[in-house]
Amino acid sequence: MNTANFPWLTTVILFPIVASLLIPFIPDKEGKTIRWYALIIGLIDFAILSYAFYTQYDLSNPGMQLVESYTWVPSLDLKWSVGADGLSMPLILLTGFISTLAILASWPVTLKPKLFYFLMLAMYGGQIGVFAVQDMLLFFLMWELELIPVYLLLSIWGGKKRLYAATKFILYTAGGSLFILVAALAMAFYGDTVTFDMRSLMAKDFPLQFQLLTYAAFLIAYAVKLPIFPLHTWLPDAHGEATAPVHMLLAGILLKMGGYALIRMNVEMLPDAHVYFAPILVILGVVNIIYAALTSFAQRNLKRKIAYSSISHMGFVLIGMASFTNLGLSGAMLQMVSHGLIGASLFFLVGATYDRTHTLILDEMGGVGKQMPKIFAMFTACSLASLALPGMSGFVAELMVFVGFATSDAYSFTFKLITIVLAAVGVILTPIYLLSMLREIFYGPENKELTSHEVLVDAEPREVFIIACLLIPIIGIGFYPKLITQLYDSKTLQITDSVQNSLTTREERKANPEVLQAERSPAIGES
């Protein structure tokens, strides 16, 4: 078998989906066989994709690799085309890793296990699909398809307000994705040729006004997903109601789709518009960091607190993206991977704590550290990771964003100074809300009201194992960040070059406005 031509990515996407279709035929009433089945499928898929990247992926090549393209619907020019490059490869790996752990984390699920694991496996494939597809229309389809399992997972297994949360989630995201469709169609039909292929779209020469409009449309869609203030309010509700495994997927992977798509489409395909929108991204990033950190501090509900902390951390992705430096973009990528791991671990631990205390309200907890020392220790470690303690991945990502932005030549000194100072305020706010959360859950004298009616058992080996799996890469990246950064370094370098080009073009345009006129006139002729 020639491994180089084997359709690796298609296999990785379709394998869990096909496997999920077999679930209804597995005889199992209690859900014990099913969960092992799902876990093994997850592991096999993760193994396949790791093997594929290990043997087939060339780190020094910034272009698309493992490319496959099959015509699907010829009349619509719809192609099944997948591929991976520096942007998508780390995120595909992350998806496989987190989804497998999420299946392991759903061990206690007893309600409708068949449907649950069916949806989990369907999500598995769908999420990888979002990162792998190279066709705009297909991307839109994948983006929409992956909403359905989330909607069901939220509305069936969620908390008390699950229907409200699920409806809000689907309305928000579906509403956002309309913008993707419109912008994608516009891009496809622009110019002489009609194409949905991302690389051909990238080659098209869009005029600036068109770029700005499509950029804005994409930005709205992805701002919902990432999320960016003020389109973030679905997230605390969805996160507040989701069960731990769904939580891990939401925080670990779904948020990253927003960041990924922003870099892939807004920054890479529309670099000229990015030059104009970048300052807005920076401002939104700063608002995200501070606003969400303050809200998180005031939250009394544990899940909502962590949900807001996710929003706060995503602010760094925006700033890094808009820094016009390789270091900043690299930091944004690393922040996504790092938050995928840290967010998943924190949400898993919140779920584990909830399983024992049966409350999410901080005032009803207190002093449980004595009875659950292992959960206490793991919670502390993951919170420290989240507050960007050196030696863990979050620190490296934030540092890279900071240094990248500080050395950026796209902004004035004052703008940079204010941005960095405000973003660094987040560095103070994060420990305030995370450590006071730890204090209110674990520290202090035991809360007699809680311990009198709840049996607080310490973490079981399965839970320790999941956290260990997440902490090892977190600490590994913290100690030696090149582990991850080398995966995408060549790609981010390429993107940075292209946005830097656009930046200099704009500077030149500013210098002599006639160039702008000259460039624009043929554009009218074309359309």
Partner: protein, 697 residues
């Protein structure tokens, strides 16, 4: 010789391995690991012992004149940005390594006795080892980023160790306060590092210094901006070394077990701030305005700490304010340009202050046998007195420490403090005056502490004082809860239970008199007494070997001929400066003798006469109250308001939109006809208008 340098990375790695092993054991086999007490203690202590031997070897080699050794590996890179990490061994590092490893080693030996009855014994050793590793990593850091990394890591260890007895509310509050206050400093440090990188493109100390100097000279960077950057960096040391205005965490940090107070909050971590100033000296020395900010911050902190220490009754809190004051001296020395003097005081202070803290731990350990495991009772000096009879070793070593810190020759503190005072007189007589007055106050409060602890009659059995202390504590807690929040009687019933910490402490207390601590605790005290007496002799003004060895990079200091007083040494100046500082020390001691030993003067009467000043000192200049009102409550209020906005406005708009859609949807129902073409038409129209719009404009 090269060989020990190649393996110098083992110094921080050895304790790290120990901590990891114990940590893994505790997580996976918690019960079993807790059983292996002496095994894990021996393991950890021998690892740090190995690191200590290694450090001595490096110091010896550096004394032989071996050149600075640096080794780097590429840590992070992105495009043309490369960040290297590694280690560097020079004179300063060698000295710091020896200080840290020796104190850590002795503290770890001491811990065995002090924590003998604690159920968290093994966990404590794991934390201690983790801390030692981070601290050692900090001192061998070759650049600013690596310093920042370990800087935060020691902060984390401090957080974990202050909150070691996590079921105590006070400890829980204190550890968070420590971490957050330090983060405020780190915020400045991070901004400073970024700003300096932006200006000079480097993270290396000397490169930054050189480039900054040439930038200022060429006018590319205004000196005001350079000073601003330098002060941002200085914010890091301000927090870590407990300088005003970020000093508030250190006294609260005394909630941690006493060995921690000795190791982290007296000898090593808090001195990291001074170490960073020393490392950044090539940068700071070109920015005179930053230097004077540093000097005055130090001077003010020295005075502030001493003035608060006078009225403290908690023995550990008193020592904490004294630490803050002594750190102020070091920072002042650095700011005055006296690089060697500041570091010399860092070294002598590390030894005698570690000894004083361990001594206070020994006292508390003895007192707990009488009054029980209640920090409110066991640490209060009003219940002590006359302990010299029961704990002679502790008393003698504590006296040595007291003499050393009071600046009485030939004890270590005299030489280093005298050098600082001399240097600050040369820089600015006003600085000297503050330092000089503080020296007198220091002698006074330290002897007050010594006399009320070890001399006079034992008051531990006095029920009236106990009752009074309990009432005071309740009042304090009442204040914290807000008036009327809870019935005091209810608290009374709950408080003892809460303050007992772990119930496993058992009921072996309530003997009538305290006893001397076990040998594992007294031996480290004796071992620390030796450097507290003698180490000052390496830095006497007439034969200053210390400064000949540790001096700012770039500065050439001639090697001293052994044991020979240089011909041009000015005896007169030395005698005036040294004599006056000994003189004011003696005045302070005399006052303390009259007030607390012979009771010739009644301290209560004086306190009544200067009531406002007394209250100012007792209430720590009200700084904590102001911070509580402005920052803590302010940030809470702000956070709550932001959440309200989020809930009512941002989310409110969404829900309103949802509501409107629902209503209009009802209306639209009649417009929709379910024909797919109609929908396609709408989408097509939208796309078309988008394309047209962009084309036309």
């Amino acid at each position: 010789m090269e060989f020990i340098y190649q393996y110098a990375w083992l110094i921080p790695v050895l304790p790290l391995l120990g901590a990891m092993l114990l940590g893994l054991g505790l997580i996976s086999y918690g019960k079993a690991t807790t059983q292996f007490r002496s095994l894990s203690a021996t393991f950890i202590v021998s690892l740090i012992g190995a690191a200590m031997v290694f450090s001595f070897a490096l110091l010896w080699s550096q004394l032989q004149g071996h050149p600075t050794y640096t080794r780097m590996i590429e840590w992070a890179s992105a495009g043309d940005f490369h960040l290297n990490m590694g280690y560097t061994i020079d004179h300063l590092t060698a000295v710091m390594l020896v200080i840290v490893t020796t104190v850590a080693f002795l503290v770890m030996v001491y811990t065995d006795g002090y924590m003998a009855h604690d159920p968290g014994y093994v966990r404590f050793y794991a934390y201690l080892s983790l801390f030692s590793s981070s601290m050692l990593g900090l001192v061998i850091s070759p650049n600013l980023v690596q310093i920042y990394i370990f800087w935060e890591l020691v902060g984390m260890c401090s957080y974990l160790l202050i909150g070691f007895w996590y079921d105590r509310k006070a400890a829980a509050d204190a550890c968070q306060k420590a971490f957050v206050t330090n983060r405020v400093g780190d915020f400045g440090l991070l901004l400073g590092i970024l700003a300096l990188y932006w200006a000079t493109g480097s993270f290396e100390f000397e490169v930054i210094g050189d480039r900054l100097q040439s930038l200022i000279e060429s006018g590319a960077l205004s000196s005001g901006l350079a000073a601003f950057f330098a002060i941002l960096v200085f914010l890091g040391p301000v927090a870590k070394s407990a300088q005003f205005p970020l000093h508030v965490w250190l006294p609260d940090a005394m909630e941690g077990p006493t060995p921690i107070s000795a190791l982290i909050h007296a000898a090593t971590m808090v001195a990291a701030g001074v170490f960073l100033i020393a490392r950044m000296f090539p940068v700071f020395e070109h920015v005179p305005s930053a230097m004077s900010v540093i000097a005055w911050t130090g001077a003010f902190t020295a005075f502030l700490g001493a003035s608060i220490a006078i009225t403290q009754n908690d023995i550990k809190k008193g020592l904490a304010y004294s630490t803050m004051s002594q750190l102020g001296y070091m920072v002042m020395a650095m700011g005055a340009g006296a690089y060697g003097a500041g570091l010399f005081h860092l070294m002598t202070h590390a030894y005698f202050k570690a000894m004083l803290f361990l001594g206070s731990g020994s006292v508390i350990h003895g007192m707990e046998a009488v009054v029980g495991h209640d920090p409110v009772l066991a640490q209060d000096m009003r219940l002590m007195g006359g302990l010299r009879k029961y704990m002679p070793v502790t008393a003698v070593t504590f006296l040595i420490g007291t003499l050393a810190i009071s600046g009485i020759p030939p004890f270590a503190g005299f030489w280093s403090k005298d050098e600082i005072l001399g240097a600050s007189f040369a820089a600015n007589p006003a600085l000297w005056l503050v330092g000089f007055l503080t020296a007198g106050i220091t002698a006074f409060y330290m002897f007050r502490m010594y006399f009320s602890t070890f001399e006079g009659a034992f008051r531990g059995g006095n029920a009236a004082i106990k009752q009074q202390l309990k009432t005071e504590q309740l009042q304090r807690m009442g204040l914290a809860f807000g008036p009327g929040a809870m019935n005091p009687q209810e608290l009374m019933a709950e408080a003892p239970d809460e303050l007992h910490g772990s119930d496993d402490h058992g009921d072996h207390h309530h003997s009538e008199f305290p006893h001397e601590s076990p040998a594992t605790m007294t031996l480290p005290l004796i071992a620390l007494a030796i450097p507290s007496i003698l180490i000052g002799l390496v830095g006497t003004p007439f034969a200053n070997y210390f400064e000949a060895f540790v001096h700012p990079p770039g500065e050439v200091v001639e090697a001293l001929p052994p044991l020979e007083i240089p011909a041009d040494f000015e005896w007169g100046e030395f005698l005036i400066m040294g004599g006056s500082s000994v003189g004011i020390g003696l005045i302070g001691i005399t006052l303390a003798v009259m007030m607390y030993l012979t009771h010739r003067i009644d301290p209560a009467a004086i306190a009544k006469q200067i009531q406002p000043l007394y209250q100012l000192s007792l209430n720590k200049w009200y700084i904590d109250d102001i911070y509580d009102r402005v920052f803590i409550r302010g940030s809470r209020r702000l956070a709550r308001q932001v959440m309200e906005v989020d809930l009512r406005i941002v989310d409110g708009v969404v829900n309103l939109a949802g509501f409107i859609t629902l209503v209009t949807g009802e209306g639209l129902k009649y417009l929709e006809n379910g024909r797919a073409q109609f929908y396609a038409l709408i989408v097509f129209g939208a796309v078309l208008s988008l394309v047209l719009l962009s084309g036309i404009t």
